[in-house]
């Protein structure tokens, strides 16, 4: 990777059909807007298929952190196959388990429990960004 921007690319699975996908999406937005603005950028995962060469260069341009909602690891596998090897791979369900937070169940209209889970995942992503930037 040839990053000169001081930014890390975050790629969320954003899976529509699983609660962890919604958490990954909300947590990534929180990182981009609140926790690490200016240090993080993103790209929509399916753009690796629908986009062109520019989109597929994403992992060459930035060190990437993938955030998956479940053990299928679509973001990690898709990024590695179509763009480049991620610097770190995170999975929502593992983060919640590690932090002792019960798995979420809602896909939309998030309540306080889901928002707390998203905050916890966002903080983990932010810490991962700091680690990646510290090793550059």
């Amino acid at each position: 990777m040839s990053d000169k921007s001081g930014k890390v690319g975050i790629i969320s699975c954003s899976g529509e059909a699983i609660p962890g996908g919604t958490i990954s999406r909300v947590a990534c937005r929180k990182v981009l807007e609140e926790l690490r603005p200016g240090k993080s950028v993103t790209i929509c995962l399916p753009l690796f298929i629908a986009g062109g060469e520019e989109e597929r260069m994403f992992a060459d341009l930035f060190p990437t952190i993938t955030v998956d909602g479940c053990e299928k690891r679509c973001a990690a596998l898709g990024t590695e196959r179509l763009s480049g090897k991620p610097a770190k791979t995170l999975i929502v369900t593992e983060i919640l388990k590690k932090k002792g937070i019960p798995p979420t169940t809602k896909l939309r209209n998030l309540g306080p429990e889901e928002k707390a889970a998203a905050q916890a995942v966002a903080e983990e992503i932010a810490a991962a960004i700091d680690e990646v930037l510290a090793t550059k």
């Binding site: 969320s12 699975c13 954003s14 899976g15 529509e16 059909a17 699983i18 996908g21 999406r25 909300v26 990534c28 937005r29 929180k30 993103t42 929509c44 995962l45 399916p46 753009l47 690796f48 298929i49 629908a50 986009g51 299928k72 679509c74 973001a75 596998l77 898709g78 196959r81 179509l82 896909l107 939309r108 998030l110």
Partner: protein
């Protein structure tokens, strides 16, 4: 097992219209046609997941995209889906321009109302697709 219409929505993380597409998917599959549709993660098509490929090649499919990049439609076609009924949330907004969607992680009420109207409109598409399937058996 009776066929269902597979619904794939934009996984967009950068635009309100992507969030609208996602909400349309939920409205369509949870409220409007819960028994005859199934929502599946678009990301599964990025990794060519075998179960997702089987779903999209053996069932009628609706794609709801959030922008002109058409990620859902293109991902479906790349995985072998034929005759995809493809829509963009901007087209619903043009028809209901008083409902301006705002927010990405959390859609505003106007965006949710827009999604509900769009899902109501897509109910007829679901019914037509399943009727065509029944006629082809």
């Amino acid at each position: 097992m009776d066929k269902k219409v597979a619904v794939f929505a934009c996984s967009g993380i950068g635009k309100s219209l992507g969030a609208v597409a996602r909400e349309i998917g939920y409205e369509l599959t949870e409220r409007v046609r819960p028994d005859t549709t199934v929502l599946t993660c678009l990301a599964l098509l990025v990794i060519n997941d075998p179960e997702a490929r089987k779903l999209v090649t053996e069932n009628p499919v609706i794609a709801i995209d959030g922008c002109v990049k058409d990620c859902a439609k293109k991902s479906l076609e790349a995985n072998g889906a034929k005759g995809v009924k493809a829509y963009q949330s901007i087209d619903f907004f043009k028809k209901h321009s008083h409902l301006k969607p705002e927010g990405i992680a959390e859609l505003n009420e106007a965006g949710k109302e827009l999604a509900a109207l769009a899902a109501d409109e897509l109910a007829g598409v679901v019914d037509e697709l399943l009727a065509e399937e029944a006629n082809n058996v």
